[in-house]
């Protein structure tokens, strides 16, 4: 029991990182209207930005988060210019291949610029473990896990507020729902889409820094597997809905870690994808109930 609860904590923590990734991903897909395979590399850029801040300046977490957000934001605007802007009304596979190309470009460039070796990110947050006694079971929660979960919640709430309370947020939602109508309402669709893409990427960057903290290392090839996870999580959430995407990410994280109780960690991705396929068979649009998403 104790063991299962501890695994659940691992699952929630990893799931909340997935949730943040999925939030960023669904912002991109919602606003731009096209899926991306560059997301893993965006996270890698965020993680490296924070790594250089940690080693070059100080172990200042807020500063590193700002740096990661900025780094991914800038890369996001480049990705937008190269992959999306030109292909808004073109068939989907064209911009998709462009994002695959960019992903390859960033990954290989990063191996040259940052070096091919894995770099450590250690002791940013103290190695403290709290032991909770819950109905006689000892639960171990690490300070790092608490920080990660709190950060994810803070950013998710901040983004929701931004979307609901600011003028830019409303514009972004409008573009996400209907591009032509927002165009007629006088919204500059291209500029809004650029902003949406960059914000989504920025969130990817923050997810990247959380990955770096949680796993204690960064490397140029780290993004690959998370790109598909973010994709899967946001598909679970119906692709464009932020709250449901976050829920999707959380579910995948928990399912993966609970699956390890029964079999080996090699099957981690099998659990994630089997769960996704199962849900899609039952509910073809993911968790979201309403139909009519553009993608």
């Amino acid at each position: 029991m104790e063991y299962i609860l501890n695994q659940l904590i691992n699952g929630i923590c990893q799931g909340s990182i997935y949730a943040l990734m999925a939030i960023g991903y669904s912002v991109i897909v919602g606003v731009v209207g096209m899926v991306t395979f560059t997301y893993g590399e965006i996270m890698m850029i965020g993680a490296f930005s924070s790594y250089y801040i940690f080693t070059g300046l100080s172990n200042n977490l807020p500063l590193a988060i700002l740096g990661a957000f900025a780094g991914s934001f800038i890369i996001g605007s480049i990705v937008y210019k190269l992959c999306y802007e030109r292909f808004f009304n073109a068939p989907r596979h064209i911009s998709l291949l462009c994002t695959i190309g960019i992903s390859m470009l960033i990954k290989n460039l990063a191996q040259i610029v940052f070096g091919p070796d894995t770099k450590p990110v250690l002791n940013v947050i103290d190695n403290t473990t709290f032991t909770l006694n819950l109905f006689g079971a000892n639960l171990n929660i690490r300070l790092l896990q608490i920080v990660v979960i709190v950060l994810v919640i803070v950013f998710a709430v901040a983004l929701t507020l931004f979307f609901n309370k600011t003028k830019w947020g409303v514009m972004l939602r409008a573009v996400s729902q209907n591009k032509d109508a927002s165009y007629l309402m006088g919204i500059s669709v291209k500029r809004t889409a650029l902003l949406g893409n960059c914000i989504g990427c920025g969130f990817g960057g923050i997810a990247g820094i959380l990955l770096a903290l949680y796993y204690g290392s960064v490397s140029a090839t780290m993004g690959a597997s998370y790109s598909t996870k973010a994709f899967a999580a946001s598909v679970l959430g119906g692709l464009v809905d932020i709250r449901f995407s976050a829920l999707g990410g959380l579910c995948i994280g928990i399912i993966e870690n609970m699956g390890i109780i029964f079999t080996s960690a090699t099957f981690r991705d099998v659990f994630a994808f089997a769960f996704l396929i199962l849900i899609l068979i039952i509910r073809p649009q993911g968790f979201v109930s309403k139909k009519g998403a553009r993608v």
Binding site: H93, L97, L105, K107, N108, I112, V235
Partner: protein, 333 residues
């Protein structure tokens, strides 16, 4: 000029094709370097694989990202049966193809209710699940050790280890694939696929059983991926799960899109371009994939519909033209 070329081709179609086949048939005698023959083998293998993906993505408009999975099914079926039971290569081509087809059918079941990107992620996930099973199912797939020293096909005592001879297997498969696919596309089935691609609701209303045809389409693409997988295994002589990652799938997808979806010649051209580029850029060492990626993006900018893109399909980037016209007419978005 293009029109004239096309007219010329239509007129002398048979002769051109025979000449082309003859040239391809004598290439191994002309090119002495085994390395180049190996490249040609790779090109033809990937052309068939890309063609099988194109049969799905290009003709029925479904967006499959998991072709590596079907390819793996074929390769592992062929390799495991040949290695453990000594079954001859030739019937295995069919067995591997059928096996992949069955899996293709299973994958197509949930996808019938799904469309667009939802379908893509299911195929991607299925491909990953297949890879992980191959990685862990030790008694059959050798698990992480893979299957090594896969027996070469036997053909009247000809030494199939030599790429010069193996070349003809790939050539025969490619020609067979093109011939069969060409016939299928011109049949009722092929027309049904294309009608689904252009407008699913319209074709449904005209009485096309879309779900059945979508499923058949998946099975057809999977079948050929399986067949070429069987042929691939002895060629490389050693297979392991890491050869069938999603990156392999993306690579094949790149060939299809670069060459031009929805055309028979497109995937072949794509396979040529990708193989030639990755080999020709070798001198750049670690910059190789940086430049390669830039070239892919560049090609998509210059020619988004692919090198051979059929201009009468919605896949050919027709909407881009519409958009540009809009731009000229009204204010840019």
């Amino acid at each position: 000029m293009m029109q004239q070329a096309k007219a010329f081709y239509e007129k002398y179609k048979v002769i051109i094709l025979i000449v082309l086949a003859a040239v391809l048939a004598i290439l191994p005698f002309v090119i002495k370097k085994t390395l180049y023959i190996r490249y040609l083998c790779n090109i033809m293998m990937y052309a068939t694989l890309a063609g099988s993906l194109n049969a799905i993505n290009g003709y029925s408009g479904q967006f499959c990202l998991g072709q590596a999975g079907f390819f793996a099914i074929g390769a592992y079926t062929g390799a495991a049966l040949a290695k453990n039971f000594g079954i001859s290569f030739w019937p295995l081509l069919i067995v591997g193809g059928l096996m992949a087809m069955v899996v293709g059918f299973i994958v197509s079941l949930p996808t019938l209710r799904l469309s667009g990107i939802y379908l893509s992620i299911v195929t991607l996930g299925a491909s990953e699940i297949i890879r992980i099973i191959a990685q862990t199912w030790e008694p059959v797939t050798g698990g992480s050790m893979g299957i090594k020293q896969i027996p070469y096909p036997e053909f009247f005592g000809v030494d199939m280890f030599k790429p010069q001879n193996y070349y003809y297997i790939f050539l025969a498969l490619l020609i067979l694939f093109l011939f069969v696919t060409n016939r299928v596309l011109k049949s009722r089935v092929g027309r049904a696929w294309m009608s689904i691609r252009e407008d699913e609701i319209a074709s449904k209303s005209l009485g096309v059983e879309t779900s059945r045809y979508k499923s058949t389409n998946f099975m057809y693409g999977a079948f050929w991926a399986g067949v070429i997988g069987v042929a691939y295994a002895p060629f490389v002589n050693y297979i392991e799960a890491s050869q069938f990652t999603t990156d392999t799938g993306f690579n094949v997808l790149a060939m299809v899109v670069l060459g031009g979806q929805g055309t028979l010649a497109g995937p072949i051209l794509g396979s040529v371009v990708v193989t030639v580029l990755t080999e020709a850029l070798r001198f750049l060492e670690s910059w190789r994939y940086v430049i390669y990626a830039l070239l892919i993006i560049f090609m998509m900018w210059v020619r988004p519909q692919g090198l051979m893109g059929a201009s009468n399909s919605m896949l050919a980037g027709g909407k881009i033209k519409v958009k540009e016209e809009k731009k000229k007419g009204g204010e840019a978005k």
